[in-house]
Amino acid sequence: MSNTRLNAGPGSTSQAEPRFAEDALDRRPVRPSKLRYNLGMLAVGIIFIAAVYGAGMDFGALLNLPASIIQYGQLMAAGVFQFPDETVAGYWTQSFDAMFESVAIAWVGTMVGALFSLPMGFLAARNMSPLPVYIVVRFVLSVIRAVPEIIFAIAIMLPLFGFGSGGGGALAGAMALGVSSIGTLSKLISEAIEAVDGGPLESSRASGSNQMQMIRWAVLPQVMPEIIAIWLYRFEVNIRASAILGVLGAGGIGSLLSTVFGAREWDRIGIVLVVIIVVTMLVDQISAFIRHRVIHGGDARSDGGEPQEDDDAPGPGPEDGPRVQNDPAPKENRAAAGL
């Protein structure tokens, strides 16, 4: 009997009777049918070909692409590596200025989003708010998430705060990013709140706390690290998103990009791209470090005590064990990617 079990393989140890081949001596399980898989692949292939025709792609354009990439790439590299005399130094300065403005836009936008997303997240969490509120807030959030940032910028913020880098453009961009951040941030925060450990909630209810006290003492301490990580992720996303608003006239790196591309000044384009890459990667590294610190490092969560240098050390404290049950990576990844 045990022999049969063995032959049946690890997948078929359940109660269901394993299916065997006709030959009783060859007791290997039958290969599952691949028909559905193949049909699915076929459907994907048909959709792909249809889409290639539907988009009306011009493959002739691809022929010249490598040559133009090399040609323009050389121009850009020449621009980046030329000796920074006064004019070129001015280009670098301008690029850094615009990039810093983009970072500031993203920061203010994230703060505006964070300010609104915390209460909205609580309202959109099933275990914190009554059903009608939950449904309405969820619907509003999914509509906000479906609208691209540029629409908030075009429709409301740019006419409200003005255009241009010096004028209200930067503020308009920040507000548009903030409003569109609310949707994603609140959704992720509400998911974090729904995944909260029920023990502290029960004990705070048992000791007679009202809703606010329960949120303050039982929920917030559990979710705050994750919420801070989500906010920081959104900050990274917003830096990239601010570029598209800049093209519309909201200041920052996007305005500069559209200017230099409009003039086809390839040396300046190269400089701007290098500045974008350097600053974005730097901010990403810092933010990733802080996120890691906040989620995994014990001292960042108001435990007091001296900061530990290696936050991968096994013991930030035994009481922190159950908090970080599993790495919330996939959910945060989606935030990182710009949901």
């Binding site: 994907v44 990439i69 850094f96 500031a104 503020l171 920040a174």
Partner: protein, 343 residues
């Protein structure tokens, strides 16, 4: 209230005062250092209020916009530090609070944060909002060709981008890559790809292709979306591969599989559900992004929208926007359905 049974078991502390463990007092010296940091930030803000130029060593000067009233900033920082000290918050958290305040103060000054102008400028917004409340419904059907192009672009970019992204992810994760050097190099290349925003890619490809005789078309848009997708899919999938169950991988190694066989048979089946869900998610992002990329002229619904916007026909823009929201919601529901079916 203490129940009698516990009171019997444990002698109650004298009177009714329960002795609670106090959180440890944070180091005052470090807090003093943080106050010094606040003072330093104040001095820097004060200094750049005067000149506005900060030396960037090899390249010249960079202007940092100074906050208007550094004194208020200093007061806010000191009060926050005092509150943190009173609440016995750890030094790292206090440092984080301080950094947050400094960053916000700088960013707010840079974008010129003010809400005072809203009432006087509201008249600019009102006609647009009115137009958005009263969209030109008949216009929706006239741009169906553009919708077809947008969705086709998204499909093509998603499929190709996911395929390339999967290969890159296999090389980027230390679990499945041939050696550490390859994985580091691919990771670095991927973070460069990811750090250029999608509109940057679109402008680049419009410039590359637009210079030829072929003119603008969906090709530049597809290539831009492709790069954008490769970055996202490769990053997410490689992180999924990092967290893969090592059992099957060890089994494949033990039975003498080479790298391709191991990746194909031990890793791919484990990451496939996650990979499919990232693909669907990227498809949704693409539809939204292609609306935005119309600004730089890459074809699809976005360029139709920009055309109407430049003609100040907000009723038509509103119609496109509403259709966009509906399409994105539909795609969202569709991908949620498939995800539930597959996972």
């Amino acid at each position: 209230m203490v129940t009698t049974s516990t009171a019997e078991r444990r002698p109650a502390p004298q009177a009714s005062t329960t002795v609670r463990p106090e959180p440890p007092r944070p180091s005052g010296l470090v807090y003093l250092g943080l106050a010094g940091l606040a003072l330093l930030a104040f001095i820097v803000f004060w200094a750049i209020q005067e000149s506005g130029d900060v030396l960037l060593i090899p390249l010249g000067f960079v202007t940092l916009w100074a906050p208007l009233n550094p004194v208020i900033g200093l007061l806010v920082m000191l009060v926050a530090l005092a509150v943190c000290f009173k609440a016995r918050i750890g030094t790292m958290a206090a440092f984080g609070t301080l950094a947050f305040i400094i960053m916000s103060y700088w960013a707010g000054a840079t974008v010129g944060f003010t809400l005072l102008e809203i009432p006087e400028r509201w008249s600019n917004v009102e006609p647009r909002l009115m137009a958005f409340l009263d969209p030109n419904w008949s216009y929706i059907w006239t741009v169906r060709d553009q919708w077809l192009i947008t969705i086709s672009m998204a499909v093509v970019a998603t499929l190709i981008g996911c395929a390339i992204g999967l290969v890159l992810a296999m090389y980027a994760s230390p679990v499945s890559s041939p050696n550490k050097g390859t994985s580091q190099a691919i990771k670095a290349a991927n973070s460069v790809i990811r750090s250029i925003p999608d509109v940057g890619w679109a402008l680049l490809f419009v410039a590359f292709i637009g210079g030829t005789a072929h003119g603008l078309g969906p090709m530049a848009g597809i290539l831009a979306l492709l790069m954008f997708n490769i970055g996202i899919v490769a990053k997410l999938t490689s992180e999924t591969i990092d967290a893969v169950n090592p059992g099957p991988v060890e089994a494949a190694d033990a039975s003498g599989a080479n790298l391709t066989q191991r990746n194909r048979l031990a890793i791919l089946p484990q990451v496939l559900p996650g990979f499919v869900s990232y693909g669907l998610y990227v498809f949704e992002l693409n539809i939204r992004a292609s609306a935005a990329l119309g600004i730089v002229g890459v074809g699809g619904i976005g360029s139709a929208m920009m055309l109407q916007l430049n003609r100040f026909q907000f009723e038509n823009v509103a119609a496109i926007l509403i259709a966009l929201v509906v399409v994105v919601l539909l795609v969202d529901m569709f991908s949620m359905y498939i995800r539930r079916k597959l996972l």
